[in-house]
Every structure is written in structure tokens, then in C-alpha cells.
């Protein structure tokens, strides 16, 4: 096996605005928000929830895009650990004004549309709007909703902020000044960490390693089998901010270059474990419209920019949004320990609540998602109290092949119905080989009660979970047999009335 590079360094290098920073002796699990507010006394960025849900702490991270320019994305500073800034540029609300003190166009638009009332959420909104501006601006309401779904406002009712988004416009991708600015920043960032070795913080309070290749990662995990693998931190961050846990050591996979690609081969997608939802979105959307729509509704823009598909699987949550869809699609995952790789069906990875088929020192390297065969229809439904940025009560994903009125193939997977994401095998069996009609539908619905005994909690009662799961089969039936009937309130297939 390849030996990991031995070059190590113990300083976190990043650009704070345009200012080069090299930090030592930072607690590896200190959040970016706390660093800003407590160490730097930059209090523009606010703590609203400390769990990545309200967006008051929204900041922008920039990193070289590999093509000589920069890519920027919003994240929640409250659950982002400081060492993950390594090699990046951090922008906060304090960086937006011009040198002469005048407001940035997005700030000006917010003032003019009366977009702030109490003002506490405002810096976060401004950063999400600034990201839209960096991306060229946006006029479409749906796209603005998506950009702002991770920012909660309790005062305005959002109207003036939506107006500000439209009014602020955006910077042209071909603007020469902006192009040069981005290319200069990319050059600086690249120079800062090029050949500088792996970031390894080995402090009394805890250790943190940021391998740069999957071989390094594999070796580190063999050496530290009890390490916590950190990707986007959208789950692990809360262990720190809410459960006050010490995590030691942390192995961060966000800098592992060869885990960050999505490849297509032999009719299947291979998604590296470090690929964020945002980066996987387009490719997953090509598999089926509903997969794309599902990814659009996971968390918020900030969460999708940080969180990974791999993390959604590896953390074993019973209510992660991607696993049921991927199981219905027949996805497999590659697990690796040292140089040894094995492939398992995703559905077999989830053993029981809190337990997955992953040995110590082993990690999820990639996810293989086959494209459905021609003729297979794929539908996914996410049910939650709120459409955007809500954790799922019930998620149903169906892959069905109906030929001449008969169900040839049927895979049904659910989230929120059991201790793990799980296939409804009795329900599947009730349909496969049967005519696709109301009688078989009813039989499949009845079979669901033998597949699952869901529980009641704050998201939904067990009765609702079962009823809605059965009704989603009805929805599948209608959508596959009478597509002219409106069945959707949101998404690409929303009812147009």
C-alpha cells in the first residue's frame, strides 16, 4: 500500500477576507462562529441556534476551483470547525462594504426594500444574498427560495428580502475585475498550502488530521481506528455545540481530492464519499427528476454545501434523506480498510438502529448508483411539516417497472418507518408479478403494516406515518397510471392551477 506522505504541519492557513492567517493552538473543534465572535471580536455574524438551522451565522467559504478561479459557497459557521478553513477564504458580513465605507449592492438592496426589522438574522441573509450575487444574480422565485431556505426570519415574512434578492442583481461571470480578483485569490490560496504537507493538529485537547488523498486517509484510519470521520460536519458539529462532546481524533475527509469526484461509468454513477449534496445534485438529478427534487429539499443551501451523500449514509440515521432513494435505486457502497475494499448493497449496510456494517478503521469510500433500466419509473416523496429545510417524517422511494399492466419490478424503500432506512419487502412481494390495479395496490398497502411498525415522536405519530406511507403507494399508483392527475404541491411536477 502507498505510504502516506509524512509531511505534516500544525498551522491552519486561510484567508480571512484578503488577510492571510496562519493559526496555531486552536482547539480543533472550535467553531468558526466562536472564533469570529470570541477571538476576533467580529460580531457581525450571529448565533441563532448553533445547529445549522437558522442561518444567522451564514458565512461564505471560497476555494480554488481547480481552473484558476474561485468557487464560493455559503455554510453555517456555527457547526463548521476551524481547521476545515485550511486552504480556503473566509468571508463574513464585515467584508462586504467597499473601502470607502459604502454598502455593497446586496446590502443597499436590503436597506431599500426594508428587508431588515430586528436585524438579527440580517447578516446571514446578506451573506446568502451575496452568494447569489457572486453567482450572477437571480430573479426566479423558486431559485431565490432555494438560496434562502436556510435563513430564518421571524419579522419580515420574507417579502422584502425576496425583493432585495431581485433588486441586487449579480456580478457578471465575465466581469474582468472580478475575474482577476478571483484568479488572484486562487493563486494566493494555492501558494499558501502547496507542498506544505498535511494539516495535523496534535494538541492536548484533541487531534485533527486532514489527509489529502484516500491512501493517506486509509492509512490514518488504520492507525486511528477510533477516529471520527468528519465530512461536512452538519451532524458532527452538533455533537460539539449541543452535546458538548470532545471528539478525538478527528479525521477530515473534505480535503481528500480523490474522494470528491462524481464519475459515470457503465450506466452507474460513482460518488466519492467527500462529494457534497450540492456537487452531487446535478448528477443525481439526471438519474431521475425525483432524486434531484429530493436533494433540493435536503437541509438548506448551506447544509447541502457542506454535507455529503457519504456522510448521510455513514452516520446511519434512520431519517437521512438519500438512503431510501439510493436503496430503491439499488445502490451499493465501497468500504475500504487499508488497501482492502469491499462492496456491499446499501440496504445491507444498515444493520439496526445505531449499527452499520462498518468495522473500526473502515470508511465509506464511494457510493455506486446504477441508473434505472429503461421502463423503470422512479418516484420519491419526502413528507415533513415544512417543505424546505425540515427533517423527514416519512420518506418513500419507489422504483417500479410496469409492463403491459403488470408489475415486473418493484423496489420500495422507506425512511422514518423503522430504525434504519429499509426496503418494504412484503409490500414489494405483494406487487411483483401482479396486475397494477386497485386490488394489488390495496394488497401492497396492507403488506406495509407487516413490513413496518413505526414509532411516534415530535415529527409524526405512528398512525400518520403508516397512513401516509400507504397513501404514497396510492400516489405512486395514480402517477403511474393516470399521469394527467395533479398530485404534487411542490417541485418540478407541482400542480399548475
Amino acid at each position: 500500500m502507498t505510504k502516506p506522505a509524512l509531511d505534516k504541519r500544525d498551522d491552519i492557513r486561510f484567508l480571512f477576507g484578503n488577510e492571510e492567517r496562519s493559526l496555531r493552538d486552536i482547539d480543533p473543534q472550535m467553531t468558526v462562529l466562536n472564533w469570529l465572535r470570541l477571538n476576533e471580536r467580529k460580531t457581525g455574524t450571529k448565533e441563532g441556534c448553533a445547529e445549522g438551522d437558522c442561518g444567522a451565522c451564514t458565512v461564505i467559504l471560497g476555494e480554488p476551483d481547480g481552473m484558476g478561479s474561485m468557487r464560493y459557497r455559503t455554510v453555517n459557521a456555527c457547526i463548521q470547525f476551524m481547521p476545515t478553513l485550511d486552504g480556503k477564504q473566509l468571508l463574513t458580513v464585515e467584508h462586504l462594504k467597499s473601502d470607502d465605507g459604502s454598502l455593497h449592492p446586496v446590502q443597499q438592496a436590503m436597506v431599500e426594500t426594508h428587508g431588515s426589522q430586528c436585524g438579527f438574522c440580517t447578516p446571514g441573509f446578506v451573506m446568502s444574498l451575496y452568494q447569489l450575487w457572486l453567482d450572477g444574480g437571480e430573479d426566479d422565485r423558486g431559485a431565490i427560495n432555494d438560496a434562502l431556505a436556510g435563513n430564518l426570519c421571524r419579522c419580515t415574512g420574507y417579502g422584502p428580502i425576496i425583493e432585495a434578492a431581485r433588486k441586487a442583481g449579480g456580478i457578471s461571470a465575465t466581469d474582468p475585475v472580478e475575474q482577476k480578483r478571483r484568479s488572484d485569490i486562487a493563486t494566493r490560496l494555492t501558494a499558501m498550502i502547496e507542498g506544505a504537507g498535511m494539516l495535523a493538529l496534535e494538541m492536548p485537547v484533541g487531534r485533527y488530521f486532514a489527509p489529502r488523498s484516500s491512501d493517506e486517509l486509509a492509512a490514518l484510519l488504520v492507525a486511528h481506528p477510533d477516529a471520527t470521520v468528519l465530512a461536512g460536519g452538519t451532524d458532527v458539529g452538533l455533537w460539539v455545540t449541543k452535546m458538548l462532546k470532545r471528539i478525538d481524533p478527528i479525521i477530515y475527509i473534505g480535503d481528500v481530492a480523490d474522494l470528491k469526484s462524481v464519475r459515470e461509468k457503465d450506466g452507474a454513477l460513482t460518488i466519492g464519499a467527500g462529494v457534497t449534496y450540492s456537487d452531487a445534485h446535478a448528477a443525481l438529478g439526471m438519474i431521475a427528476g425525483d432524486v434531484g427534487e429530493l436533494v433540493r429539499r435536503i437541509g438548506s443551501r448551506q447544509i447541502r454545501n457542506a454535507g455529503t451523500v457519504g456522510g448521510n449514509i455513514a452516520n446511519g440515521s434512520p431519517i437521512g434523506d438519500t438512503p431510501p432513494a439510493l436503496i430503491a435505486l439499488g445502490a451499493r457502497i465501497v468500504l475500504r480498510m487499508g488497501d482492502i475494499r469491499r462492496e456491499v448493497a446499501l440496504e445491507d449496510f444498515f444493520i439496526t438502529y445505531g449499527k452499520q456494517d462498518r468495522a473500526k478503521g473502515e470508511f465509506v469510500e464511494s457510493i455506486i448508483v446504477p441508473k434505472p433500466d429503461a421502463g423503470v419509473q422512479f418516484k420519491a416523496y419526502k413528507i415533513s411539516k415544512r417543505f424546505d429545510q425540515d427533517i423527514t417524517a416519512v420518506l418513500a422511494a419507489f422504483a417500479i417497472w410496469v409492463d403491459s399492466g403488470k408489475v415486473v419490478e418493484f423496489r420500495a424503500a422507506f425512511g422514518g418507518m423503522a430504525g434504519t432506512p429499509m426496503r418494504a419487502k412484503k409490500c414489494e412481494a405483494a406487487l411483483i408479478g401482479k396486475d397494477w390495479n386497485e386490488a394489488s395496490l390495496n394488497a401492497a398497502q396492507l403488506a406495509l403494516t407487516r413490513d413496518f411498525a413505526p414509532m411516534s415522536d415530535m415529527r409524526a405519530s405512528k398512525e400518520y406515518r403508516m397512513l401516509v406511507a400507504q397513501n404514497l403507494l396510492t400516489k405512486l399508483f395514480i402517477e403511474t397510471t393516470a399521469p394527467e392527475i395533479a398530485t404534487r404541491l411542490v417541485g418540478r411536477e407541482a400542480a399548475h392551477v
Binding site: 460580531t43 457581525g44 450571529k46 441556534c49 448553533a50 438551522d53 437558522c54 444567522a56 458580513v93 454598502l103 446586496v106 446590502q107 443597499q108 436590503m110 436597506v111 426594508h114 431588515s116 426589522q117 430586528c118 436585524g119 438579527f120 440580517t122 447578516p123 446578506v126 423558486g142 427560495n145 432555494d146 434562502l148 431556505a149 435563513n151 430564518l152 421571524r154 419579522c155 415574512g157 420574507y158 417579502g159 422584502p160 449541543k242 415533513s384 411539516k385 415544512r386 424546505d388 429545510q389 427533517i391 417524517a393 415522536d457 415530535m458 400518520y464 401516509v468 397513501n471 404514497l472 395514480i478 392527475i485 395533479a486 398530485t487 404534487r488 404541491l489 411542490v490 400542480a495 392551477v497
Partner: protein
């Protein structure tokens, strides 16, 4: 009028200015921007947690009880005390004065409980450490044992066991019992209405800085600095003049920082005085949601009688409110629910009973609308049910029940409605929202759409303006003019985002005829304006605007007298015009020049102002009087789509026409209306509070408690400040209060969802939709309506589930 000094200044009524004064920047009626806007967007607006901490600042964290009700048998805090960074640990024994922060002097809100735990999550001790992280970590080392006592975890159970925090109250008019017996039709039912977390984005926080003599200065995020001052003085065992409370701004309040700030302020103050070090108590979001009160959940039982036209001729209604473990403001909140049983309708013979139930849950408190919304959502459901029973459009039943202008205009509390604009307002919104045409379109759509159903509803709001506790209706202000003509403005109202500061500043700009940017808006401070009331009950601009105007007039009168004497003209000849003062035909001065001359002539350029709302009175013994100075009105029409397979829904269009009188600032008022509507929509739809069987709140963070997000705002949102808006009373520039009333416009969303559900049963089965209408609640109602259709008999409209 800009030259109102040319006649005697009317100190009681600034009159009816119809448009902004030409040449004046930022007077009343102008859409001036929020004064903090440029600072908000740059991250430069300073909230309490942003104040630079002096050396040695301590950080506090509360330690919570892990049972709902019981006796503490052992509290071993030794490991907490010896944890890294811990400087001191507080228990009930460490409260130097009175261990109580109850707002209405009911002595049931301990800073830290002395032996008895009253709800799951109640703070029972508090840690102060060098860092916040150290304090939070140390909290976990406590060893506490309890002897559990039976816990009452629902309002239903409290009512059965007659556990109350305050005595029941009855308001009645006529003889409801006989009227019901005589009624041609009757309908009875039960509605459960959920509570609501404020979810201000900035959580509770106080930063206490010790002063000499054992005094303390508190930077506190509160709507009621005077109450915090008095409470903390009591807690410290010191006179009120030992405590100063300052509030520059809050990151949202919504009622949640009216009484709920005191406990955290008290803990910070005790630590600051005890250690001599600055002390900050900032609650983590989860702690905030668990430990602070919310909107009261209600169970409403009703029995209504009505005629063939749906006109109500008798109503017996009972409210049982979940007050939580202590009284807090529950008595006044429940009163306001009773006062709004009528909403916009003449109820005739009516009996309203209210029970203020005591449970082992967090003590509920003020929240925008203050009980009014619960009363109003119930009567709006009743109206819809009447409409279904007689097969009429609900709008027609609403109109049939509206208060009259000359008769049918007495409220259940015997107040005559003198400013009724309901018919006019209804005509105007009907002309613009096409309700009847859309109703037909919806019927056609629903007939061909088996899964997605549409619904529509139009509902009115009539909301009483004034604190119903009469003595609270007073306000003070302080105005200085400096020698350069710049103005320092201070008043007792607090800024929580609602735009109060800018509105009051506009009033002062108008009075002095100077541009708004000459006026410095300063932090509310109990050392400047004392004995103030909470910024609550939508009263902020009405009362503080008047008080500030009063102060300005005092100084202005001195300037007029000075100018008249110096230049030898009649006082009536001294006129203030934009940035200038015309002194008869003798001279014309810049405002700043006149100020400078007056200073040199030893004229006082500082004044206090005061205002007490006229006309109001209420006798609680007889449950009659005039608790409200006037009413604010509005109407909303909402349209929704529901998914009958999942219970999900989407609000697709909203039309609002709202009466703000003559607006002080139309932009600020629009913001209040839109924001209030969306907040009310959240209360009635996605915002569900959920406690487990142990009495533990499980929806204690935005991950589990879902306020509306950006996409929940309807794409088609049409908001008008009602063009005929006016106020018959002499309010500040004839404007109307706007903070709370718009929240209740969102009842139209709840009713539109019910309407869509009813379409499943061809409007023949009443959907007993409670609040909040979560997708689960909607799907259950759909299922029940479907069952009701099957079970339907032909002689009556059955209610689903009955």
C-alpha cells in the same frame, strides 16, 4: 400642519396631516427606512452579546431539572464547583433579596426554586465560569435526586382537577342559556388550539456590569426594562435606584421578552454583585425554548345558536388555557381572549367563561395578540361551521353577523363599538380579491382534481387597542436639543425590530420641522425615562409617540416664547417650517440658530414628556367598561391547495387590506402586516409544540420546531394599507396601532385549509380542524371527512369524527 404654532398648539391632538410635509425629510407619513437598516446589513448593529466584554467577564449557564414535578431531595454540586473555570454556583439560597420575578406580584416565579421543581427543564441552579463553554460543561456534573410528585401535563387534566393559577372569570351579556334554548339551529363543538414559541432570532440575554455601592447596570434584551429593574432590585434586596436597565435593541421580542427576561437578568445581576465581575447570561437556543414561556394553548368548548341566515342568537363558550406552572401574565391574556370572542361579530346573548389552568409545564406568557388570537380563531371556526350547517357561503354568514353601526353594536363587555368600518372594508377587499369568482373557479377545479384540492377563506380582524390593565396605559419621553441644533430623543418604548424608534423620531422631526437625520435615537434606559410600561399591546407608537411629542412641544413652546419676545412679535407669528423658523415678518432663522440664541438667553432646551391614554376604564367585577381606546381592523383572503393523500398544503395567494389609520410610516406598517401575517400563519400551520409523556419539550430547536421558511410565503401576496384608513380617536397623527392585529389575518389560512378539506365531503361534513394544521392534522381531518361522508345521514350536517 407644519405651521401649527401659528395657532395655539393642540397638545392633545396633532391633527390630520394628509401627506408628508414638503421639504421635510423624514416627517410623519414618509416611508423612512428603519434607522438601524444600514447597520443591520453591515453587521454593525450592536446587540447585547456584541457589546465588548470588559476584562474578567463571567459567563453563566443554567442547570435544568429533569423531572416535571417533585421535591429535590439531594443536590450535590461539589463537582460543578470544582470544574475547570467555575467561579461560583448559585442556588435558591444565593438569592440575596426576594426569590421571585413574577410580573403581577403573584410570588410564584422563583429565580431558582427552593426545593420544589415545577416543570421539566426548570433551572434549579446556575453556574458562572470564566468561559461559556466551561459553564455549560460544569452544569453536567451536578448530582440531583428527586422525589417525584404527580405531574399535570395537559390543560384537560388541569381542568378536570380544577388546578388554576388564577380564579376563573365570566363575561356575560343577556341570557345565553335561554337564547340557546330558543335558537332555531344549534351547534356545539370543541377546538384545541396549540401554543407557539416566539422564536426571536436573538435568544434571551442579559449582560450585568457591577457599579459602585453594589449597584448594577444591566444590558438586557427585554421589552420591559422598568419591570426588569424593579424585579432585579427586589431580588437583590436593593431599592429600584440601585438598578439601571438599558436596551438599545432586541433581535426580536414578540411578547417573549416582556416578562421572560427577568429570570436571566436576575441570575446575571446576582453574580455581578456577588463577584464584582461583569456577568453574562445568554441562553443556548435549546435552553431558551425549554425554559421560557410561550403562547398559551387552549381548549375551547362552544355551544352556539343561530337562525336561518346564520345569525348568531346565543353563544355559550368556555376557554381553558394552559398557563403552565405560574400565573405570569395569564390572567390578562385570558381576559383578552374573552374580549376577542366576538372578533367582528355581534353575539347577542352570550356567556364567556375562562379557566386559567395550572400545569407542570413552562409558564406561558405574552405573545403577539396576547390571547386575542385564540379567541378569534375559535369564533371564526364557529362561523364556518354555521355556514356549512345552513349551506351558505361563510362570507355571507360573516357579513350577517358583523357589528352594526347604530344597533347591534355592543360587545359582550358592554362597550359600544364606535369606529366600525367592517362593511366598507369588506366591500373594498371584495372588489380587489375576486373572492366570489374564485370560489366558483375553485369548485370547478376541485370537481376534476381528486388528489389536490383548493380552498379559500376571507376573514376579518377587529382588535382592541390598549392595555386592558388600565394603569399601564402611560408613557414618558425625554428630549434634549443641544447647542448645535441636534436632538437627543429618548422614550420608554423599546426597539425589537418593529420600527418604533423611527416612528417616534418622525413625530419629533415633524414637530420641530427638522430633518430626521438631526435626531439621535438613543437606547431605552430606566435612568432616563422611569416607570415605563412594557413595549407591548401594540401600544408603542401610540403612547411613546404622544409622550415624545409632548416633550417636543414643551421645548418648542419655550422657543416660540423666546423668539416672540426677542423679536417683538406675537407668539402666533412664530412659525416652524422645514429647517427654519419664521419670526413674523421680522426675520427667518435656521432652526439651529434659534436654538443657539435660546441657549445663550438661558432657555432650557430639555424636557420630559408624558402621555396617558384617555377615555379607557374597565370594571372587572361587573366585567364591563371601555377597556379599549379604539379598534384596529383588517381583512385577509387566503387561498390554499392541499394534498389529500399526505395532508401537505401550500398557501397560493393572499390578499390583505389592513386599517392602520393614517400611517406614521407606510413602509414600517407594511412590514408589520406582512411579518405578522406570516407569523400567524406559522402558528396555525407548521409550528407544533410537542411534549413527551415525561413533560419534556421535544420541539426545542429550529430542527424540530418549524417556523415559516422563505418558500412558505405565498408567491402571490397582495397587501394594501386600506386607503380609507382613519382613526376617530385623537391618536398620534391619527394613526392606528399595527403590531399585533395583522397576526390574526392569518386565521384566513387556517379556514382556507378547512375549506379545502370540506371539499372532500362536498361541504357536507364539517372538518373539525384544530390548530396547528400540520400535515398530520390535515390528513386526519381529510380521513374523518371521508368517513363522515360514508356515515352521513340526510337530516343534518355531521361533524367529522362525531
Amino acid at each position: 400642519m407644519s405651521d401649527n404654532a401659528s395657532k395655539a398648539i393642540d397638545t392633545k391632538d396633532p391633527g390630520e396631516l394628509l401627506a408628508p410635509t414638503p421639504g421635510l425629510s423624514g416627517g410623519v407619513r414618509s416611508a423612512s427606512k428603519h434607522d438601524s437598516g444600514p447597520k443591520h446589513v453591515a453587521g454593525e448593529a450592536v446587540y447585547v452579546d456584541d457589546i465588548l466584554e470588559p476584562f474578567g467577564t463571567l459567563h453563566l449557564a443554567p442547570g435544568a431539572a429533569t423531572i416535571a414535578h417533585g421535591r429535590i431531595t439531594k443536590m450535590d454540586l461539589s463537582k460543578v464547583r470544582s470544574a475547570p473555570g467555575v467561579v461560583c454556583v448559585l442556588t435558591a439560597d444565593d438569592v440575596p433579596g426576594v426569590n421571585d420575578v413574577s410580573p403581577a406580584h403573584t410570588h410564584d416565579d422563583p429565580v431558582l426554586p427552593d426545593g420544589i421543581v415545577q416543570f421539566y427543564g426548570q433551572p434549579v441552579f446556575c453556574v458562572a465560569a470564566e468561559t461559556r463553554e466551561q459553564a455549560r460543561n460544569a452544569v453536567r456534573l451536578a448530582e440531583i435526586e428527586y422525589e417525584e410528585l404527580p405531574a399535570i401535563l395537559s390543560v384537560k387534566e388541569a381542568l378536570e382537577k380544577q388546578q388554576f393559577v388564577a380564579p376563573p372569570h365570566v363575561i356575560a351579556q343577556g341570557d345565553a342559556k335561554s337564547a340557546l334554548a330558543r335558537a332555531k339551529h344549534r351547534r356545539s363543538g370543541v377546538m384545541e388550539i396549540g401554543g407557539q414559541d416566539h422564536f426571536y432570532l436573538e435568544g434571551q440575554i442579559t449582560f450585568a456590569i457591577p457599579q459602585e455601592d453594589g449597584d448594577v447596570l444591566l444590558h438586557c434584551s427585554t421589552q420591559h426594562p422598568s419591570e426588569v429593574q424593579h424585579n432585579i432590585a427586589n431580588v437583590l434586596g436593593r431599592p429600584a435606584n440601585a438598578v439601571t436597565v438599558e436596551v438599545r435593541r432586541m433581535g426580536g421580542g414578540f411578547g417573549g421578552k416582556e416578562t421572560q427576561a427577568s429570570q436571566w437578568a436576575a441570575l446575571a445581576a446576582i453574580v455581578a454583585v456577588k463577584t464584582g465581575r461583569p456577568a453574562k447570561m445568554r441562553l443556548d437556543r435549546d435552553d431558551d425554548m425549554v425554559m421560557t414561556g410561550k403562547r398559551h394553548d387552549f381548549i375551547v368548548e362552544y355551544d352556539v345558536g343561530f337562525d336561518d341566515d346564520g345569525r348568531i342568537c346565543g353563544l355559550d363558550i368556555q376557554y381553558a388555557a394552559n398557563c403552565g406552572f405560574s400565573a405570569d401574565l395569564s390572567a390578562a391574556i385570558c381576559d383578552r381572549a374573552m374580549f376577542h370572542t366576538d372578533n367582528a361579530y355581534f353575539l347577542g346573548d352570550v356567556e364567556i367563561r375562562s379557566y386559567r389552568c395550572k400545569t407542570n409545564l413552562v409558564s406561558n406568557t405574552a405573545f403577539r395578540g396576547f390571547g386575542g388570537p385564540q379567541g378569534m380563531v375559535a369564533i371564526e371556526r364557529i362561523i364556518d361551521e354555521i355556514a356549512m350547517m345552513i349551506g351558505r357561503d361563510p362570507l355571507d354568514v360573516r357579513i350577517a353577523n358583523y357589528y352594526g353601526t347604530t344597533d347591534r353594536n355592543t360587545t359582550p363587555y358592554h362597550m359600544t363599538v364606535e369606529d366600525n368600518v367592517l362593511s366598507e372594508l369588506t366591500d373594498d377587499i371584495l372588489a380587489s380579491c375576486d373572492y366570489r369568482k374564485r370560489r366558483k373557479e375553485i369548485d370547478a377545479f376541485n370537481a376534476q382534481s381528486p388528489v389536490i384540492k383548493r380552498g379559500i377563506s376571507i376573514t376579518p380582524v377587529k382588535f382592541g387597542i390598549s392595555f386592558t390593565t388600565t394603569f399601564l396605559n402611560q408613557a414618558g419621553a425625554l428630549v434634549h436639543i443641544y447647542q448645535d441644533g441636534s436632538v437627543h430623543l429618548n422614550h420608554g418604548g423599546t426597539e425589537m425590530g418593529q420600527g418604533l424608534f423611527i416612528k417616534v423620531a418622525q413625530v419629533v422631526a415633524e414637530e420641530f420641522q427638522i430633518d430626521l437625520d438631526r435626531i439621535k435615537i438613543t437606547a431605552t434606559n430606566t435612568g432616563k425615562v422611569p416607570n415605563t410600561s412594557a413595549t407591548a399591546a401594540s401600544s408603542g407608537a401610540d403612547m411613546n409617540g404622544m409622550a415624545a411629542r409632548d416633550a417636543a412641544i414643551t421645548i418648542k413652546s419655550r422657543l416660540i416664547a423666546f423668539a416672540a419676545e426677542k423679536y417683538g412679535v406675537a407668539e402666533a407669528a412664530v412659525r416652524f417650517v422645514p429647517d427654519r423658523v419664521i419670526v413674523g415678518d421680522v426675520t427667518e432663522l435656521e432652526f439651529a440658530d434659534l436654538v443657539k440664541q435660546a441657549y445663550l438667553a438661558r432657555v432650557s432646551l430639555s424636557a420630559t414628556g408624558y402621555y396617558a391614554t384617555p377615555k379607557i376604564h374597565y370594571d372587572r367585577e361587573t366585567a364591563s367598561g371601555r377597556p379599549f381606546y379604539y379598534f384596529a381592523y383588517g381583512m385577509a383572503c387566503s387561498e390554499v391547495m392541499i394534498d389529500t393523500l399526505t395532508g401537505e398544503y401550500k398557501v397560493t395567494r393572499v390578499d390583505i387590506s389592513h386599517d392602520v389609520g393614517r400611517s406614521l410610516n407606510p413602509a414600517i406598517d407594511r412590514g408589520q402586516i406582512e411579518g405578522g401575517f406570516i407569523q400567524g400563519m406559522g402558528w396555525l400551520t407548521s409550528e407544533e409544540l410537542w411534549w413527551d409523556d415525561a413533560g419534556r419539550l421535544r420541539t426545542h430547536a429550529p430542527s424540530t420546531y418549524k417556523i415559516p421558511a422563505c418558500s412558505d410565503r405565498p408567491d402571490d401576496f397582495r397587501l394594501e394599507l386600506w386607503s380609507s384608513g382613519r382613526n376617530v380617536e385623537k391618536t398620534i397623527h391619527r394613526s392606528k396601532a399595527v403590531g399585533e392585529p395583522p397576526l390574526m389575518l392569518a386565521i384566513s389560512v387556517h379556514r382556507a385549509i378547512a375549506d379545502a378539506i370540506a371539499s372532500v365531503g362536498n361541504y357536507k361534513v364539517i372538518p373539525m380542524l384544530d390548530a396547528p394544521a400540520t400535515p398530520e392534522a390535515v390528513l386526519n381531518a381529510v380521513a374523518n371527512v371521508a368517513k363522515g361522508m360514508i356515515a352521513q345521514s340526510h337530516d343534518a350536517v355531521p361533524a367529522a369524527g362525531e
